[in-house]
């Protein structure tokens, strides 16, 4: 109760702008759909953007806030999609209401993925950085491999499992509502004291532990929660098509979700949603416009866009250029640029600091005591 009260007290438009934008967007889209303004491809794209955004937001919990690199997100999605849709296929014979079945299926898919996320969270207690990355990747691939070897009566094996394709309008409304709920849950978590505990673990695990934060509990919790949302996204994915096949959930897909998170800004929920939508959109744009013989240049074009965006956003040498272009440059806002100079940069680095950040690179000048401490944490 206290928790809810806190939320009420701290209600500010600025903090809740994401929900309003999402709800307004949903309203606009529904109206547009009523007037037949949404084409089929746009409806399909919105659904794809919606579940991609759910995946990105949930992975951001792990990568951005807990500070662990996970490359197995598609594996949870895979389990959620298979089990949730299997359940739904069965329930369509029992319950008449399709939407209710879908909601139940999302819960079931989410729960199964939660269990798997919990299992993956266990090694996360002992492993760090790249070791954990390869373990999560391995888990994802194992899940996929197991579903591939199921019999044709259960999950269809290599043939894939048939699912019931949902009608576009209903599904995009459900997807956007789900995204709003997921976003609400994630943001409330991050803004609560639990969220602060999680970011404390990210910034310095040992310090957090010595402050009495239950590291085991929070790590498992975040992994399980993120997996749960991925499972829900999997069920939505399954219902946007008429088939679920394991080959859609390779580690390449996990990497694609990670790209969404990193491009959107690690630790930024809004950024994740925007970049997930953008990446889906760009891919669809390339797919539709480069048909036929032009299709082959698609991948190279996408790769070049990716490299340029990342280098532009992150290269230390380009910082000046970016500051010049930035509309909200702190130096511009503040009349006296000297006072915020170094501290400002350091402070701004904090939210993006994750264990892989500990890894220092050659030209980094401020190699102070605090940083070299964390540098060795990864190899504990």
């Amino acid at each position: 109760m206290q928790y809810i009260k806190n939320i009420k007290q701290s209600f500010k438009l600025k903090n809740n702008i994401n929900y309003f934008v999402l709800i307004a967007l949903l309203a606009v889209l529904i109206i547009a759909d009523q007037f037949g303004l949404l084409g089929r491809s746009l409806t399909g794209l919105i659904i794809k953007m919606g579940y991609s955004a759910i995946l990105a937001v949930s992975l951001n919990l792990v990568v951005g806030f807990l500070g662990e690199l996970s490359l197995g997100h598609a594996g949870f999605m895979c389990a959620g999609a298979y089990i949730g849709c299997f359940f739904a296929n069965y329930m369509y014979g029992v319950i008449d209401n399709k939407i209710l079945v879908l909601v139940l299926a999302m819960i079931v898919g989410g729960l199964v993925a939660t269990v798997l996320g919990f299992i993956v969270g266990l090694p996360a207690l002992r492993l760090k950085g790249d070791y954990l990355a390869i373990v999560t990747l391995a888990f994802g691939e194992i899940i996929r491999n197991i579903f591939n070897n199921t019999s044709s009566e259960t999950f269809g094996g290599a043939m894939g499992m048939s699912t019931k394709k949902f009608e576009g309008t209903t599904l995009f409304i459900i997807t956007l509502i789900t995204l709003t709920i997921v976003l609400f849950l994630c943001q409330s978590l991050i803004r609560s004291k639990h969220g602060r505990a999680i970011t404390a673990i990210r910034d310095n695990e040992i310090a957090a532990k010595s402050m009495g934060i239950n590291v085991t509990y929070y790590k498992l919790f975040v992994f399980a929660l993120a997996a749960c949302f991925a499972g829900v996204a999997g069920v939505l994915y399954g219902h946007s098509l008429s088939t679920v096949r394991q080959d859609a959930f390779t580690y390449n897909y996990s990497i694609e979700i990670l790209v969404m998170v990193v491009l959107g800004g690690i630790g930024s929920m809004r950024g994740s949603i925007i970049s997930a939508s953008l990446i889906v959109y760009i891919n669809a744009l390339l797919q539709n416009n480069l048909s036929g013989d032009m299709a082959e240049i698609k991948q190279a074009v996408y790769a070049i866009i990716l490299i340029i965006v990342v280098i532009f956003n992150n290269a230390p040498a380009l910082k000046k250029v970016k500051d010049k272009l930035s509309v909200s440059n702190p130096a511009k806002k503040n009349k006296n640029p000297e006072t915020i100079h170094d501290d400002e940069v350091d402070w701004r680095r904090v939210p993006t600091k994750i264990p892989m950040d500990e890894v220092l690179t050659a030209n980094l000048p401020n190699n102070d005591e605090a940083e070299s401490d964390t540098a060795e944490k990864g190899d504990k």
Partner: protein, 297 residues
Amino acid sequence: MSTIISVLINGLSLGAIYALIALGYTMVYGIAKMLNFAHGDIIMVGSYTIFITVMNLNIGGPVLTLVAAILFSVIVCTVFGVTIEKIAYKPLRGASPLAVLITAIGVSYFLQGSSQLLFGARALPITMPNLGNIDIGAAKVSVGTVVTLVVGIILMVALTVFIKNTRTGKAMVAVSEDKGAAQLMGINVNKIIMITFAIGSALAAFAALFYLFGIPAVNPTLGSMPGIKAFAAAVIGGIGSIPGAMLGGILMGLIESICKSIPALSSYTLAIEFGILILILLIRPIGLLGKKRRVKV
């Protein structure tokens, strides 16, 4: 018996290939502290180079052709490795390693995309110069497999000697231990990183050749699965550790070969390989030969 021998030899030669790739991963990780996801695609570049050389070059005898092919492939791979480092990774030195990881993925997509553009996505068969077979015990083993094993071991020994005994090698160790200190001692860190990429890519070129001995076909995504498995091998051995990468690679190769030879397990090969990886890491979180470090608080 003959089956067991051939399974083991297949596994060892596959393992040698994984080990050569894993060495590239582990060295780059040790020194630049980044996961070079594009490393697998350097193998693909090497394979296409070998493909072009072998299919177009007609000089006396299979051995000479192979030597020419590996020469070209080493040169091309090294140039690629160094160029990629210059263009895509160097501007990001000092940035978040996650950003570097994403660029590496971008580079990997780019290499795959451009080779698809140049050669098409279809797998192109390549006729490798035939070196014949030899009998080991009751098993028939191709000379290519033996060459893979022998050359693989020679390269690994040479690399170890290089790192232990030369100035550059010692500088590499210093950079991987502490970049700041190494720089203060007058080591040109950028140059060392470049050399690391060059060596890693050259090893990948050898891996490409051996890979084509077993699997005579090239396609744009040829490098990605071996790349991931080699990454797993590097982690099993303890990422950053050179003997670890060799051990991990050999282990991966053996597991894969054994799993494939048992019908009931063969469709679970991937799950078993990765399952063993997880088990090893759960028991030894720093990998088999990884160095344990204390945490200062």
